[in-house]
Subunit: 168 residues, 2 copies
């Protein structure tokens, strides 16, 4: 099946919001999703965007029962560390009926290309440890688990704790 | 002891590079540091910077034996997730002889303020699990360990694996 990978634009935000919810359902995490289509439009496609996106698209004849042709996406932003410039992949998703066709690999490959083109030495992302198919896929691509190997833990501060921390 | 926290500028890169090496020594990771003073100047202080920084500074009379008055720093960049806009703190460091005076807390507080001012709902960072004093400090500030609590693992792809991944 032919598919294409291209930069996301503001008109894709409705489908990105839909696929974020699909991914969140898969991860049993719909309750933590706060971003809406409108947030995505504002945060990704105005001056100084907080993220960038790419879309995987199939031809009309392969559209889903619900009429979707935008069937996968990845979000990314640039990062920095002792290794220098990096690219961070926040989400990588392909709709279930389109899996196993190399579309996820192609999306991730595109993020890697964009990173290298911007002078990045590394691509980072997080994965849920119980999501074995994803972990296996990433390891098969030569990615290393720096939590398991070096003990890096992800920490987060939000809500009242963040407000309190910001008090001088 | 009085100290001030201010935005970093290009002239601070020499001291940031020095303190990155000090922090790497503390974490037994000097071999992984790739960034130089020149990289920091280019990557943080040109158009579309990859990171921002803040500096903790003390008055001349409190300078170190080696003559340093820039005695702590934090690096950060903006991020994105299902929670919306976020701020990511890459490094937080205070020179050993200036610890226990609230300088680390003040640096982290400033990052939180900058994040809230930019509409961020969360502050993220990573910590090495064996660095108990740091983990305890962060937890005392209301941060949660999303690796321990939800199983988020940090993954990284670099070098030949990244080059290979980018092949179409």
């Amino acid at each position: 099946m032919d598919f294409s990978i291209r930069a996301a634009n503001m008109e894709d935000c409705k489908d990105i919001a839909r696929m974020i919810m699909e991914l969140a359902e898969y991860e049993n995490q719909t309750d933590i999703v706060k971003v809406t289509q409108k947030d995505l439009e504002q945060d990704g496609f105005s001056k100084n965007p907080f993220f960038h996106g790419i879309i995987a698209e199939v031809a009309e004849q392969h559209r889903t029962q619900d009429g979707h042709t935008k069937i996968g996406y990845a979000l990314y932003f640039y990062s920095y560390s002792w290794l220098g410039r990096g690219i961070y992949m926040e989400d990588l998703y392909v709709m279930p009926e389109f899996r196993g066709k190399g579309i996820g690999k192609a999306l991730m490959s595109k993020v890697a290309q964009l990173g290298l083109a911007a002078g990045c030495s590394n691509l980072k992302f997080t994965v849920l440890d119980w999501n074995k198919p994803s972990v296996d896929f990433y390891v098969s691509q030569g990615c290393s688990d720096i939590t398991a190997n070096f003990g890096f833990h992800c920490m987060r501060c939000e809500g009242e704790a963040l407000e309190h921390l910001a008090q001088p």
